[in-house]
């Protein structure tokens, strides 16, 4: 174990989550409920893919085995992917998409606020740029959760179902593991408990304002994105995303 192992692991987690979430947003292209949303979903996706590249660039430098960010994203198998289970879930309808987006944005927001203070300068710099973007993402997804939750009878029902659909995957947002504990002690990342508390507060505030019930805390069972034990959806997503790099290894694009 080198002194960077924990940090590499963590960079892969945040980077992979951003790339997978961005990929899901790409799937909305041409299918959004309004032109304004067409632009907004692509815009958020663009930010996330950009963030993913920054995190994975840094990870690649620390791994230092000749791979770059592209190879990390496009040539790792699903078992090596470290993203949250939440972000790999299918888009479903706009309510499911917004539920996923909101839970993820709230997590990113609180995490990045801590990362801005990181003892690792590079992490702090990447986080500072990302935080500006994510502040807007969170505002937008919070607004949509409220619009849909407190809109029409149909949108309310769909938002209830959307939250219900993905809530079970939120356990990963509120429980840190040993890697994160060690990084937190070293001042590289904020304490997982602090992120969890802040996340729960934001979620409860927004869901309540949206006339939705805050579900009981989700419990983890078997699956674990951080250790590469994913749902079946990730492999298919990666097969599509990685197609060209896999079919034409070492090609320049």
């Amino acid at each position: 174990m080198t002194k960077y192992d924990d940090l590499i692991e963590y960079l892969l987690r945040v980077g992979d989550s951003a790339v997978v979430k961005g990929q899901r947003l790409c799937e909305w292209c041409g299918n959004a409920p309004a032109l304004e949303e067409e632009m907004a979903l692509m815009n958020v996706g663009l930010d996330l893919i950009g963030q993913a590249r920054n995190w994975l660039d840094y990870a690649a430098e620390l791994i230092d085995d000749g791979r770059d960010a592209d190879q990390l994203a496009y040539c790792r198998d699903e078992r090596a992917y470290r993203n949250l289970l939440l972000v790999e879930q299918p888009n479903g309808d706009f309510a499911v998409t917004m539920a996923k987006q909101f839970f993820y944005d709230a997590w990113q927001y609180h995490m990045l606020q801590g990362l801005v203070e990181s003892s690792d300068e590079r992490v702090a710099a990447i986080a500072a740029k990302a935080l500006k973007e994510v502040t807007y993402h969170l505002r937008r997804s919070s607004e949509w959760v409220q619009r849909l939750g407190d809109g029409t009878e149909e949108s309310h029902q769909r938002m209830v179902a959307g939250v219900e659909e993905v809530w079970r995957f939120t356990c990963e947002l509120t429980v840190g593991d040993e890697v994160e504990q060690r990084l937190a002690e070293a001042g590289v990342i904020p304490a997982p408990e602090a992120i969890a508390e802040a996340w729960k507060a934001t979620v409860s505030e927004v869901l309540t304002a949206a006339t939705l019930t805050v579900p009981e805390e989700a419990r983890s069972f078997y699956l674990n994105g951080r250790n590469g034990v994913h749902s079946e959806h990730l492999g298919i997503l990666l097969a599509e995303m990685q197609f060209l790099q896999r079919a034409y290894p070492n090609a320049t694009w």
């Binding site: 790409c26 067409e38 632009m39 663009l46 599509e240 034409y248």
Partner: protein, 330 residues
């Protein structure tokens, strides 16, 4: 060009003597290159023609996202993915911007979109062709955005103020798209392997003729051109623009090290232009009529997006009204 066949309703162009005083003042204003603004009087036919033209253009921007959306989930690197996502976002922006310009003429965006979905409104025929390999993302940027620019650069001087201003803004982004598309192809040709080079030539083979068709029917078959030219909502004929596009594109094609699927394409010293082969007009009219390779899928995708999103838009309206009432009560 994104508006290929715009009906003007005019059999022939009226002379100044035949016009009413209002019409004459309007035409003189146009002849003097003074922009027409939304509050100015304008002939009904001018208004209707412009609505058709701008809405066709806007629809094209939106439908045009679909062939690119087909590859955005498969872009090969971070750089290419980010570029393509940004381009698609730009196109959505162009659509919105053009719909706004169209609404200054009293048209309604939802109504015009409805016409697109039920097949009564047109959009550029080019977007009814499938994108079948990654090089298509380069070829679309280079040839399709490239052809659009040739048309739109002249539309920057179009007589209707809001349309002209929209074009100025949009053209900047389209040229960026074109350079980016060309760079995709250049990278594949200069640094790529054999398979990648084949992709590039294949993309050009499939998109070359459809790109030339973007300029619309030949002048002999463009009955609406004369009126549109008199109104200065069109400033050059289809064939002039097509020639201009070919003349500027062939050197770029040669620099790539690729060929066009046209044995008749060659420099004509006397004319100072490239000669080129006969366009398959039958194919063009079939695609325009809705029988192209992807017409059905494109419209279905757009219709489904808007229909499936109805409950979302209704929720947004209901929520906004609730908030308004709550504020009024407070």
């Amino acid at each position: 060009m994104y508006a290929q066949m715009v009906e003007t309703g005019a059999k022939r162009v009226k002379t100044l003597e035949e016009m009413s005083p209002e019409e004459r003042a309007f035409q003189e204003r146009i002849d003097a290159e003074v922009k027409i603004e939304p509050k100015n009087w304008m002939p009904d036919a001018y208004r209707k023609t412009l609505i058709r033209q701008i809405s066709q253009h806007a629809h094209s921007e939106i439908v045009g996202m679909l062939p690119e959306g087909n590859w955005v989930t498969r872009a090969p690197t971070f750089k290419r993915k980010l570029q393509l996502m940004a381009k698609i976002q730009d196109e959505a922006g162009h659509g919105m911007y053009l719909y706004s310009a169209m609404e200054t003429l009293g048209a309604d965006r939802d109504e015009e979109v409805e016409k697109l979905h039920n097949g009564r409104a047109k959009y550029s025929s080019i977007f009814n062709y499938p994108t079948l390999n990654w090089a298509d993302m380069g070829a679309v940027g280079w040839l399709v955005d490239g052809a659009a620019i040739v048309n739109q650069v002249v539309l920057q001087r179009t007589s209707y103020g809001p349309y002209s201003r929209a074009m100025i803004r949009i053209c900047k982004e389209e040229s960026f798209h074109q350079r980016q598309g060309y760079e995709i192809l250049l990278t594949m040709m200069q640094e790529g392997n054999e398979a990648q080079k084949e992709m590039v030539q294949d993309a050009i083979n499939r998109l070359w003729w459809p790109a030339l068709m973007m300029f619309g029917p030949s002048d002999a078959d463009s009955p609406n051109s004369a009126q549109s030219m008199a109104w200065k909502i069109k400033r050059h004929t289809n064939d002039e623009l097509r020639q201009r596009f070919i003349d500027q594109t062939v050197p770029q094609l040669e620099f790539l090290g690729c060929t066009a699927p046209d044995p008749d394409l060659k420099w004509n010293e006397e004319r100072g232009h490239y000669d080129f082969g006969e366009i398959q007009w039958e194919e063009f009219y079939e695609v325009i009529k809705g029988n192209g390779p992807c017409n059905r899928e494109r419209i279905e995708t757009r219709r489904n997006a808007i229909e499936d999103g109805t409950w979302v838009r209704e929720a947004a309206v209901a929520f906004a009204e609730k908030k308004k009432k709550q504020q009024a009560a407070a």
